[in-house]
């Protein structure tokens, strides 16, 4: 019995290891260049940051879901309406727990932050994001050897330095992508007419290029996270002033409490800005790190091994969306309470 079991386990282990090794041998993946600023994708003659495109994708997803959920409202809900009601009712309950009477006022802001961040984070995990895009001549010092797949190009895992190849001859049209799609071609002509520069080649004539993905997780762009953080903290200040009038500012400029009080007020002021930074960098850091983690896992062992990390990122994406929303809520609730009773 145990022998059978052992042999089964052994077979499973061998299969898994074999798959992992085979993946490394058969389908080695390129490690994309990791950079902080969003890549600029050529769309309709404009260069648009791919993180902005990703945000728009998340917007459209949300709006379609919202449309489908509320298109045919029924007293007894089913399907998507039921799901939407579950999400919204649950989050509304949480908002009420923290915000009390102001739940109705703050709910749209908080819920939108949660939904947008969540959907944007989860879109990152869909295959094609970060991996389908326009192939361009290398911008920096390194590029990848390109392989032609039908009408499209795919990056191979072969990375080359090309300082000495800067003035390589033109290498056909650009376009294509890893596991490319028809839409990858869209950018080709328009981009080509603008610049007319070609691809450098290796010594044996193969083109070298880099991939500019159409989509990249919104939260890996500091502009996105900073935008949310600014909106969130601006609303905190707005509701604070609305609730307490000019008294709100005594939190920051405290002349009554002597030197100690003044320093405390100063610290409050600084922490208000620190909140913006930690808001934006928390989300950015988590999602960017997750993205890099997935890149590196796919680069090291492309088959099977990245799967658990996808699960982890699913969780991180949810938690970060939740934290962003609930922290906003907590700061809002904190701002409308008079601070005189402290100390």
């Amino acid at each position: 019995m145990s022998r059978v079991l052992n042999s089964k386990v052994l077979v499973a282990v061998v299969l898994v290891l074999g798959t992992i090794v085979a993946g490394k041998l058969v389908a080695p993946a390129a490690l994309p260049g990791i950079q902080l600023p969003a890549e600029m994708v050529p769309i309709l003659g404009f260069r648009v940051p791919n993180t902005l495109l990703h945000t728009l994708l998340a917007d459209i997803t949300l709006l379609i879901l919202a449309f489908l959920a509320t298109r045919n409202m029924k007293e007894i809900p089913d399907g998507l309406q039921n799901f939407a009601e579950w999400v919204i009712e649950g989050f509304y309950g949480l908002t009420e727990d923290i915000a009390g009477d102001r739940a109705r006022q703050w709910f749209p802001l908080v819920m939108t932050i949660f939904l947008l961040v969540l959907v944007a984070n989860w879109w990152e995990l869909v295959p094609g994001v970060d991996s389908v895009g326009v192939v361009e001549p290398p911008h920096g010092e390194t590029g990848f050897v390109l392989a032609k797949v039908g009408p499209l190009y795919a990056l191979t895992a072969e990375e080359v330095k090309l300082e000495y190849k800067k003035e390589g001859e033109k290498a056909g049209e650009k376009a294509g992508a890893e596991m490319g799609e028809g839409e990858a071609k869209e950018g080709e002509g328009k981009e080509g007419e603008g610049k007319e520069e070609g691809f450098p080649t290796t010594e044996d004539g193969r083109p070298i290029g880099v991939l500019v993905p159409f989509l990249r997780a919104s939260a890996t762009d500091l502009n996105f996270t900073l935008a949310l953080a600014l909106i969130s903290m601006a609303m905190v200040q707005y509701y604070g002033i609305q609730a307490l009038g000019m008294g709100y500012f005594t939190k920051f400029i405290n002349l009554k409490g002597g030197a100690m009080g003044f320093v405390v007020g100063l610290i409050e002021t600084i922490s208000e800005f620190a909140k913006i930074i930690s808001f934006s960098f928390r989300l950015f850091g988590n999602i960017f790190a997750g993205q890099v983690l997935l890149f590196i896992m796919a680069f090291l062992l492309p088959w099977l091994v990245p799967v658990p990390f996808y699960g982890l990122e699913l969780f991180v994406g949810l938690i970060q969306a939740f934290i962003f929303a609930v922290l906003t809520l907590a700061f809002l609730a904190n701002a409308v309470v008079a601070h005189d009773d402290h100390h």
Partner: protein, 164 residues
């Protein structure tokens, strides 16, 4: 800042994007769904209240019914009681009457019997006197005088009456 990817234009576009999304979602998602939830809550509250009212009504009518029933039972009890009393009284009356009649009957019968006996006694006395006269005539062979006979019989009868 540039190297970290900050860009005022992109930042602004993200802010605008968020605000637009907020407005749209508020219009097309939160409002209808929150309204629906509110409506449903209201309806559930209403139907619960209606159910409570109906329950109260049922309880009330149940109580009224029971009261009615108890009253009816009480009345029936009273009627039965009254009927029983009447019957009892009637029985007493009938019995008394019957007893009276019986007593009268018995009295009349006794009177009649006494009268009959009287009659019979007188007749018997007459006959015995006659008979004993005849017997004495036969035995003695000659007739005593009427007066003697009578004297004798009377004497005898007196003796008989004394011994009786």
């Amino acid at each position: 800042m540039e190297a970290l990817g900050f860009n005022a234009g992109f930042l602004l576009s993200q802010i605008v994007n968020f605000v637009v999304l907020l407005v749209l979602l508020r219009m097309f998602l939160y409002r209808p769904i929150l309204n629906m939830l509110e409506e449903r809550r209201e309806r559930i509250r209403e139907s619960l209240e209606a159910a409570e009212r109906a329950r109260q009504e049922v309880v009330q009518s149940q109580k009224a019914y029971e009261e009615e029933l108890a009253k009816a039972r009480r009345e029936a009890q009273q009627i039965i009681e009254r009927a029983r009393e009447a019957a009892e009284r009637q029985k007493e009356e009938i019995l008394a009457e019957a007893r009276e009649q019986a007593r009268q009957l018995i009295a009349r019968a006794e009177e009649e019997i006494a009268y009959e006996r009287q009659q019979a006694m007188a007749q018997l006395r007459e006959e015995v006197a006659q008979l004993s006269l005849e017997i004495a005539q036969k035995v003695i062979g000659h007739a005593l005088s009427e007066a003697e006979h009578r004297q004798l019989v009377r004497q005898f009868l007196a003796e008989v009456g004394e011994s009786r």
